[in-house]
Amino acid sequence: MIIEQAPVLIVIIPLMAALVTPLLGWIRKDICYPWVILALLVSVMSAATVLNTVIHEGVIHYHMGGWLPPWGIEYVIDHLNAMMLVLVSGTAFLVAIYSKRSIEQELPEQTVYFYTLFLLQVTGFLGIVITGDVFNLYVFLEIASLAGYALIAIGEEGAPLASFRYIILGTVGACFYLLGVGYLYIVTGSLNMADLSGILPELYGSKVVLVAFAFFMVGLALKMALFPLHVWLPDAYTKAPSVASALIAPLMTKVAIYVLLRLMFTIFRPYLSFELLPMAKILLIAGIVAIFAGAIMALAQVDFKRMLCYIIVAEVGYMVGGIGLANSVAIKGVVLHVMNDVVMTLGLFTVAGIISYKMRSHTLMDFKGLFKKMPLTMAAFVVVALSIIGVPPTCGFFSKWYLIQGSVLAGNWIFIVALLFSSLVNIVLFFRIIEIGYYSFDSPESHGHDHDGDSVISEAPVSMLVPTLLVAVIILLIGLYNQSIIANIIQYAVPKL
């Protein structure tokens, strides 16, 4: 019976755990951490069960409350969903294990509510990914966004203003999404995704559908930080606490890209998205501009986390441009890249968090001499860096390979130039850091930082080190097994184009 209810358990368990956490924290502050890990462990196992079921049996339909759609809400889980569920819950689980020491250092008084909002945000993301009803998606999008605004606002100097800017722009995005839902409702009368995709083909010539599509696109572009609507991202993710950025940064933008894929391919079928509207060209140009802009701005940064934020902007450009190529090889590459990017960004931000924990700041100069003092962390960092650059056998190489193949098939050479340019810029960025890491010209005392009386930086604590190393191992595993992942999961998630 538990296996049948697994789709709901994935979302409900973190939700219920979040409601109980303040009570537990009032009794004893220390039991929040194991409680969070327990809840997320159940969620990860349910997600893995669901993925297994989808691979063996096909699409799962789960009707909430027993009402058939379109009168009730239903959860539709196909291959794309199941993959995203495992990614989101797995990331949350790893960040939860990682969070203990960092929270003790950065946010000692707000631990209980931090973990509450952590679980609520994970609930929001899981709810977005799993649902088959557009209004339900809006509700969970707002849960995730509200928790995100609060988690970012308790960071370092300048975090409240960054969070306020994010509130204004994020609310605009969510309201545009709601307007799109409203326009679609006026002409179709339904809120269920499968139902909409059945009713919409007769209405393709209608101006309402066109405007609804445009508003969906702009709203989602604000949430996924597509250039030039990315202005909230660098400040917000840089100044947030390290655990908050390790949770939000890999997930928020990729979940928005998942919603874009759902919208373009399930609700508005590819016929509308690509043939009636010049979406392919628009997305391609937007993606290329985002890649160039992200790469160039990343070169100019002195702060490590800010540099990572611009790398995220460039990665979003890869994915949007890949969708714009409009053939199934490229979209296979996009889905694989979503998977890879979650893992790679998680790896980068966990390393940034470890640096921030040890050195109390996150500029590039903090990497000085770290190869000798923190060899394991830097080894994981090198693996992640190679993956972002795109070196085999890490996973980053394979997704870039599919995107390049798709680009050749579509005959578009500018995109290939953009991909290669971005890889070159990434090489420069990361080798700069690796070079700083190898040489330690000054002795540690003359840094001017206060290391709690130690003059020698030791390796990172185990609870922070294990998730980072696990991420590096996962990157290698995804790279080695990418053929079987594509054959079993991604192939069915991609529409035939």
Binding site: F164, I168, C175
Partner: protein, 129 residues
């Protein structure tokens, strides 16, 4: 042309209201004015949805009164007598979301005021540099 406008003027009024809120949200400098603009924008969206639910021709609220309750065994509840309840339901949820976002935005504005003692965005940016 005239019945065109009369047929749709409700949507246009709400769109103008939305644009007033949107303009306030993105181009004013004071944090509280931005928050109020956000509120106006979201309220206009809510009114837009609610206006979809109306049906001409004597439709009343979507509540069955006692007179109709006696007749329920004979299925003579007519669809055209009651306005559409679904947009109202969606907007109840949207109102709650709007109030929650307003609350969090005001909490952050309080945090900013406690720290910098001003509510103008450009002064805060200058103080951060």
């Amino acid at each position: 042309m005239l019945e065109f406008i009369i047929g749709k003027y409700n949507f246009w009024i709400y769109i103008i209201l939305m644009m007033i809120g949107f303009y306030a949200m993105i181009s004013k400098n004071n944090l509280i004015k931005k928050i109020i603009g956000m509120n106006i924008f979201q309220t206009a969206i809510i009114l837009f949805y609610v206006s979809i639910a109306y049906k001409r021709g004597g439709a009343t609220l979507p509540i069955l009164t006692d007179a109709d309750a006696h007749a329920h065994g004979e299925h003579i509840i007519n669809m055209a007598q009651y306005i559409n309840p679904l947009p109202h339901v969606l907007m109840l949820t949207a109102i709650v979301v709007m109030v929650a976002t307003l609350g969090v935005a005001l909490a952050i504005a309080i945090m900013l005021y406690r720290k910098y003692h001003t509510l103008e965005e450009d002064e805060i940016i200058k103080a951060l540099k």
